[in-house]
């Protein structure tokens, strides 16, 4: 797994990688995470379950992305790949330059690569065009792509002009046990110092709306700033709890001061991921005003905590939760206010059975399932599964298929085939990408001379506990006795 974003920074990609890696380790794989060094996190560390994390020292450019240096990462990456005996490189997040570089180098070294896209992008503005070109470059020569939702898949296929067959959809998941409502029957009772939230809400009981998001433009904070005063004006017995930090926090605070709403809106500031649940269970409604979202793990978490979810109908959000758990709004001020109003009314009428949400979510999303599906992708690209089984096409159709498969880069590591694929990226970009690929290859040959493979120590694996065999042996000996 390679990505710029990892713990200690909080976020969806980070926890996705951690949970997926943990579950893959449980399934008997060896997983290494490569990320860049954070302030206090440097060097090589082990997390629970023997998950090894390399914090490579690199310069951080913007929002925890590293400076794209294209080739300087290669010697280090090669060393790590060789010493850990890596077979598949799995990159995450399209804004992470570390991930793109790793995929390029991995292909040069002849490894299988998978890329997971976590976000949606537009096509119009300069930043998107640049990112899309970069994505096209990387994905021209990747074995398989994983997207977190079908909307995300459409978006990625269009952006990087991929063959849809080499893109799978594997959603995120949540650890349902970590997001349980207060005093749920299947868990031990917890005593909280504050009174229990009443299930049946009267017309004058206070309804608390929770908002947890990083306060950035793309998370719809501007929408939130516009909507909060109107919601509070329309519904007297409503309170807000807002958690998270970001550049837009100042706008929120100004809005609160202008309208004198400090007593009805609580700003908690940045919170840790493990505190999210404690904040969520204090509310009844979860409001998610995001402008773009590939999946929205936080929605699943909120529903799992037994919150009624109000969200904007953008990106992959409509796929996430069934209709009875959510109220959708268009991403505009008026509709968001109206939708929140509808949600409050429904809750007051007790038409929503939020206490059942937890069990339903638990059935829908689990990391074990995600890991199993990811494992199938790995099997597919490394040839354990046959093509027909993996891609689901007729073997008779193979002749017409092979052209696209060549495009998908499934079989050939040959430099000339890779160059052909890169060349198709664009008039100028294609040549530039070819140049990059050639330089990368020359660098690879130089590295083989300069730091030969047999000079690199193979790392020891984390001693794995064998849980299955021990009881079996005991049983055997008991039977013998």
């Amino acid at each position: 797994m390679v990505c710029d974003y990892f713990f200690p920074q909080p976020g969806g990609v980070e926890s996705h990688m951690y949970q997926l890696s943990t579950k893959l380790i449980d399934r008997g794989h060896k997983v290494i995470i490569i990320t860049h060094a954070y302030d206090e996190r440097t060097g090589i560390r082990y997390l629970t379950n023997g998950l090894k994390v390399y914090h490579v020292p690199f310069l951080v450019l913007y929002r925890a992305s590293t400076f794209p240096t294209v080739f300087s990462f290669f010697p280090m990456f090669r060393n790590i790949v060789i010493r850990e005996e890596i077979e598949i490189v799995h990159g995450h997040a399209s804004l992470s330059s570390l991930c793109h570089e790793a995929i390029l180098h991995a292909r040069t070294m002849g490894l299988r690569t998978v890329f997971t896209d976590h976000s949606l992008f537009g096509f119009a503005d300069a930043g998107s065009i640049l990112t899309n070109k970069l994505l096209k470059f990387t994905l021209s020569d990747v074995d398989h792509v994983v997207c977190v939702s079908h909307t995300c898949k459409e978006n990625t296929v269009l952006r990087a002009s991929l063959d849809p067959l080499m893109v799978s959809v594997i959603p995120n998941a949540v650890v349902a046990e970590n997001f349980r409502p207060i005093n749920h029957p299947s868990y031990p009772l917890e005593t909280l110092d504050k009174p229990m939230t009443q299930r049946a809400l009267g017309p004058h009981d206070t309804i608390t709306i929770v908002v947890i998001s990083r306060l950035f433009y793309n998370k719809g904070t501007d929408l939130l700033v516009a909507a909060i005063p109107r919601i509070l004006a329309a519904h007297p017995h409503v309170k807000f709890i807002i958690a998270g930090s970001g550049p837009k926090a100042i706008d929120l605070e100004q809005m609160l001061e202008r309208n004198v709403l400090q007593d009805r809106v609580a700003m908690l500031g940045p919170i840790r991921h493990e505190e999210v649940r404690d904040v969520m269970v204090r509310g009844h409604i979860y409001l998610h005003p995001s402008l773009t979202e590939a999946f929205g793990t936080v929605l699943v978490e909120a529903a799992s905590c037994g919150l009624y979810v109000v969200c904007t109908q953008v990106g992959g959000i409509p796929e996430v939760l069934p209709a009875h758990m959510t109220v959708f709004a268009k991403p505009e001020e008026d509709d968001l206010v109206a939708a929140t109003g509808r949600a409050i009314t429904k809750l007051r009428k007790n038409q929503v059975r939020t206490e059942d949400f937890h069990d339903q979510v638990k059935k829908m999303y689990s990391w074990t399932d995600v890991a199993a599906r990811t494992e199938r992708v790995y099997d597919g690209i490394s040839g354990v599964l046959s093509d027909a089984e993996f891609y689901g096409y007729d073997a008779a159709d193979a002749a017409s298929w092979s052209a696209t498969r060549g495009r998908a880069g499934v079989q050939s590591f040959a430099l000339i085939d890779r160059l052909k694929r890169y060349y198709g990226c664009g008039i100028w970009a294609g040549k530039l990408f070819c140049l990059c690929a050639v330089i990368d290859y020359i660098l690879f040959l130089l590295l083989e001379l300069w730091a030969p493979r047999d000079q690199i120590d193979i790392a020891r694996n984390w001693p794995k506990k064998i849980i299955q065999e021990q009881p079996a042996k005991e049983r055997m000996s008991r039977r013998d006795g």
């Binding site: 060097g43 090589i44 010697p75 060393n79």
Partner: protein, 223 residues
């Protein structure tokens, strides 16, 4: 030919002591001894000629009165007489002719660099001495012949742990042996200059731990 890949030598001066030495020097055979002697001679020769060149340059800039008649042997004048003899020999005349042709700003740094290179040791030797019940002594040979080896003794009471760690070093990831010392911010790296490979590091770690924390009476330790 003169140096080899760092390798491990183990010595057991007593049943409760082990010394691990990691060195780049190969085992000394007769031909190797001759070769090393030859390089030392060559180094001395080069060093001597550099000094001669420097002195002749100095002599040209600030001429001093030469002592031409041989004074008695055990006097200071005798040294200056020897210098005169050397300067008026064929090599000395050559140096006196070459010295003014090289500008000073090139001559000085160049000769300093050459002299430094000549003073570098051929081999690096680092060792770890483990004394059961007493502590650990690490020693690293110095880079030049001019200074002696750095040694450090850490008593058992101060040692928190001895462990093998990995870290980024340049463009690669290396295994290394560290000693965690009580009340110290930084750990002590064993074999810091050679940083031997994993197989050696692991062997030393096992042996050191076995010797340092061996149970009393259990004298047979595996090395």
């Amino acid at each position: 030919m003169l140096t080899i890949v760092p390798h491990l030598r183990t010595r057991r001066p007593s049943p409760t002591t082990i010394e691990y030495t990691v060195s780049t020097s190969p085992s000394l055979t007769f031909s190797l001894r001759i070769l090393i002697t030859l390089t030392i001679l060559l180094r001395t020769l080069i060093g001597f000629s550099v000094l001669l060149l420097l002195y002749s340059r100095y002599d040209l800039a600030f001429p001093s009165t030469r002592i031409i008649i041989a004074p008695p042997f055990f006097t200071d004048e005798r040294i200056w007489y020897t210098v005169h003899l050397i300067l008026s020999s064929r090599f000395g005349l050559l140096a006196l002719r070459t010295a003014p042709q090289i500008p000073v700003f090139i001559l000085l740094p160049l000769s300093a660099a050459i002299l430094y290179l000549l003073s570098l040791r051929i081999h690096t030797t680092e060792s770890l001495l483990v004394l059961h019940g007493l502590g650990i002594q690490t020693s690293t040979s110095s880079a030049t012949y001019l200074s002696s080896a750095t040694t450090r003794f850490i008593p058992t009471a101060k040692i928190q742990d001895v462990l093998v760690n990995e870290a980024f070093k340049g463009f690669e990831v290396r295994y290394y042996l560290v000693i965690v010392v009580d009340e110290e911010e930084d750990v002590v790296v064993v074999f810091p200059r050679l940083l031997p490979r994993r197989a050696i590091v692991e062997r030393v770690w096992r042996g050191a731990m076995g010797c340092l924390y061996a149970v009393e009476g259990e004298n047979k330790m595996k090395v």
